[in-house]
């Protein structure tokens, strides 16, 4: 589906109003064409994880137990073993 010059914003709005769970008001179209590029750039940048949320990355992890044991023996260091069901590294766990 394509065309010009008018986008089917009314289609979007109608679709949302017909069955939306997004509260009572619709935000579509509230960001003008003049602002949209800057708004998206800024908003996407602001939503990146800040360093304080990535302190997990400051730990020297290896991702398999065999490597950990090899290193433990080589450097005579105990091993901190973290187990979990999911992906702790992405927060999808």
């Amino acid at each position: 589906m394509s065309g010009q010059p008018r986008p089917p914003l009314t289609v979007l709005v109608a679709a949302l109003l017909l069955g939306s769970v997004v509260a009572t008001s619709c935000s579509l179209g509230t960001i003008s064409d003049a602002r949209v590029v800057r708004w998206v750039e800024q908003t996407v940048a602001e939503r990146q994880a800040p360093p304080e949320d990535k302190r997990f990355d400051e730990i020297a992890w290896v991702t398999d137990i065999r490597t950990a044991i090899e290193l433990g023996k080589e450097y005579n260091r105990p091993i901190f073993l973290f187990t979990g069901n999911g992906r702790i590294n992405t927060g999808r766990c």
Binding site: M1, S2, G3, Q4, P5, R6, P7, P8, L9, V11, L12, A15, L16, G19, S20, V21, V22, A23, C26, S27, L28, T30, I31, V36, V37, W39, V40, E41, T43, V44, R47, Q48, A49, D53, F56, D57, A60, W61, V62, A68, I69, L71, G72, K73, E74, Y75, N76, R77, P78, I79, F80, L81, F82, T83, G86, R87, N89, T90, G91, R92
Partner: protein
Amino acid sequence: VRAYVLSPDGHPYYVVPTGSAAETLGMLGQAVGQFKPTAGEPVVSPGPQSVPPAAPADAVTLHLVSRGNDRGSWGQFPAENWIVLTREDWSKLLPTGDVNPGQWWELDRGVGAKILTYFYPQTENNDASTDRIEKHLLIARALTVKDGVVTARIDGYVMMHHVFYPGRKDAQPLGAEVVGVMTFAPGKPPSLELATTKAVHGQRWFTVAVRTVPHPTTR
């Protein structure tokens, strides 16, 4: 989640309590006392643990960050996803032929679903199958065309039901409204950024941001 301290040769020493940072640190301190390791730098270099997957050179890799507006517990750390769009995928996002300012087109729904299916906050359930999606739409409209490069705005939404805990039957409704920008030259991989303007899962509000990132290549 379970954490353990093992001896240097891999034998279990203790289950590490993870209820609080203080408890965890206390146990690690005991382990240091027990094994008396020599202080020094980490034996491997720390680095980012969430990294883009290897993908074909002509693929587009998207990085998504999603986060509930709450903090603590499930809201404490953001969730991330890496979404790889093959050439076949991203080609379906672009219009055919010349593009003029004001021209609009609908983004391929299958490819749109591959992205929008990850528009949910941090939950224990991470079934991101696209058949959860009930309605979705992404519309592009060209804002400018300069030296063959098109800048288009994206407007759209997704509606689905998503379960917080795996295996439960109490899926809650989820709705998100999306605005974005896509920049592309004909036949070339596009750069895409998306952000929610309003998104809620049940009674929990959340935000999502998506951006195009470089990726290691498979060939």
